[in-house]
Symmetry: C2
């Protein structure tokens, strides 16, 4: 096991009716900027619950944060934080709103020239406006980590940053707010949760049996629970279980002491930046290509996944790998996710453009940092 340093101070307030806890969680007399997205919180009752809980607070609102939150939008909120002397940011929405809010928090305290450098150049975030959230979508795990992914339309970039300064002080997870989610978003969230676990687990054997078993625990539970939400969308326990899985898939717990491989996310982000593909769907599309391309490096872990999670009994390693890739694709299909390039308009031209972009940035992806533009072309040729 590699050495590690782990601290996750996020307070999770989980369950029915917990939005009413807001006055017990926010600092007294804070001036709050409430951030949200396209307005779905106004139709599902969450906005009203939050406003009722905040009745004794001075609240400024900032709506309209997009899926794949845009730098230009977020910078408008940064201006408000400064001009209104905001003390606390409250994100009310899904992972995009929360990721955007983390960036607002960091950018408002950034002392360098251009806050985009936080994303493009890894400029360190040493301070941030404190933030909390009411999270409404089980997917990104942003509610219990210090990571965020931000997009810039003008340059077709979608980049990530992380800093302990942007850990939410608290995250309220009320599974009842997910009852009204479109099932397409539910499916995307399940795919995202699944691939979050995979990126921390399917690398190469590292003699970390607990981390392996914990990753498998999450996948086993997810695969069991996923079909239930489509059959019985109003079942509270199913919604609660799926939300708790999404939160735990990316709170840093599974990856302590191990080498990770985020190639599927890295390539998926590029596809989303180019074509606007839903994040979860981009992952479902790319993952089989990554595995087929890295069959030699990842074969043992892919087969372990197949045997321990999908119940594959095939003794031959190569055949077990194939069976696991099929089982994974079938799982995505069971969510109603079509994972073919044609479905999303991923042409050779788009792939070539991404490959060129990655090489021009001088970055490489994967646990061995050996996936360059040419490898991305190979991976994308092996996706369908």
């Amino acid at each position: 096991m590699n050495n590690f340093d782990y601290c996750n101070p996020v307070r999770i307030v989980f369950g029915k009716g917990q939005i009413s806890q807001l006055p017990n969680l926010l600092p007294k007399s804070a001036k709050v900027l409430m951030t949200y997205g396209g307005g779905s919180i106004k139709s599902n009752g969450v906005y009203d619950q939050v406003k009722a809980a905040l009745k004794d607070y001075d609240v400024v609102e900032f709506g309209g944060i997009e899926p794949n939150p845009q730098y230009s939008t977020l910078m408008k909120a940064v201006e408000i934080v400064k001009s209104e002397k905001i003390d606390f940011l409250l994100s009310v929405g899904g992972g995009s709103t929360l990721d955007g809010t983390k960036f607002i928090a960091a950018a408002a305290k950034y002392t360098g020239e251009d806050p985009w450098d936080i994303l493009a150049k890894g400029a360190p975030v040493v301070d941030a406006v404190p933030l909390g959230c009411v999270i409404t979508l089980p997917a990104t795990g942003s509610e219990m980590n210090c990571l965020a992914v931000i997009s810039k339309k003008e340059t077709t970039e979608k980049l990530a940053f992380g800093s302990p300064a942007v850990f939410p002080k608290f995250s309220i997870i009320d599974p009842t707010v997910t009852f009204s989610l479109p099932l397409r978003q539910v499916a995307n969230g399940i795919a995202d949760t699944f691939v979050h676990v995979i990126e921390q687990y399917v690398t190469h054997p590292q003699n970390t049996p607990l981390q392996d078993r914990q990753a498998e625990a999450l996948l086993l539970a997810l695969i069991d629970e996923a079909p239930k939400v489509f059959k019985d969308p109003q079942n509270y326990d199913v919604r609660a279980n799926l939300f708790w899985m999404a939160t735990q898939a990316l709170n840093g717990w599974l990856n302590v002491g191990v080498v990770q491989c985020w190639a599927t996310h890295n390539i998926g982000h590029e596809l989303t930046a180019q074509l606007g593909i839903d994040h979860g769907r981009s992952l479902a599309l790319v993952l089989p290509g990554v595995w087929r391309s890295q069959r030699k490096e990842k074969g043992e872990k892919i087969a372990q996944l197949g045997r321990r999670v999908f119940g594959i009994t095939e003794p031959d390693l190569d055949k077990a790998v194939d069976a696991t890739i099929d089982a994974t694709r079938n799982f995505f299909a069971s969510l109603g996710i079509k994972a073919t390039k044609a479905e999303y308009g991923v042409t050779d031209e788009v792939v070539q453009a991404i490959a060129k972009l990655i090489d021009s940035r001088g970055v490489k992806f994967g646990d061995r940092q050996n996936i360059d533009g040419a490898k991305i072309v190979e991976i994308m040729s092996l996706c369908d």
Copy 2:
């Protein structure tokens, strides 16, 4: 799933050579009380490593904290904290030293009349001297929780308390310090880890598939890894894996949203208070009795444990329960732990005395809070 409120802010600094990180973890210019136990840290090199790392700090030492740390001993340290104006407590040792240090931290700031009320009457702990630890024994999980168990010889009591105020600010886990542990203590720690998971998992079905799978993940990994430490005690990865399992077995992760049953620990503590039985061994002795006595309530979860962890395929519920109890006893036996009453001098008189004591305190144990003195007598009659 039940509603829950979870926050565990402990920073874990894990791996080889991490004791040297102490100056980066302690507050600058803190006056430190370094607490430890019977002196094994002086023979295994840990004391010297800590002293070297603390060379620029003002350090007062307090050694001699016993296994099952004694109230009277700890109160001497409380006096030192006050008279020496100590800012920070650094526990260097196993779970007993750390539990004792948590009590010192709380008692030094306690404003009521008698700090024993924290244990005997559940008097709230609202403040504590900040503390951190170098943990040297994989067992209690105290390094990542806010719990402590303290004993009082004079009244044969062994009682627990918990408060967020006594979360360690950091815990250094260097698995190499466990190379020199007597194998008897290693076995005790594995039994303790096993039963910590069990007390959070073997209750009744609660439709919490992730928590179930996570408990099973830890048990599967523990059962796989345990034999290796006896065959190859100098294997770093094995030591690291076992330590990380012990830490995670009781950091609050497994029990969010679920009802727990701590009957085995509660009864085990009484046996230790009466007879001085090693904590891990007391648990191995009591657990089969609890399960046999609560076969009706716990049968489904016991069988689930058997099927998912021990590979039991018996379809009949009752027979699966019996097979799981046998498998669990065999696991303890594989650690060299003898789990019979005769082995530890647990006579009928001792059991009757405990039963009387529990009834006189007016407490009841178990997830249904229905285990009274008479039930304890029944449980102990079913142990062997």
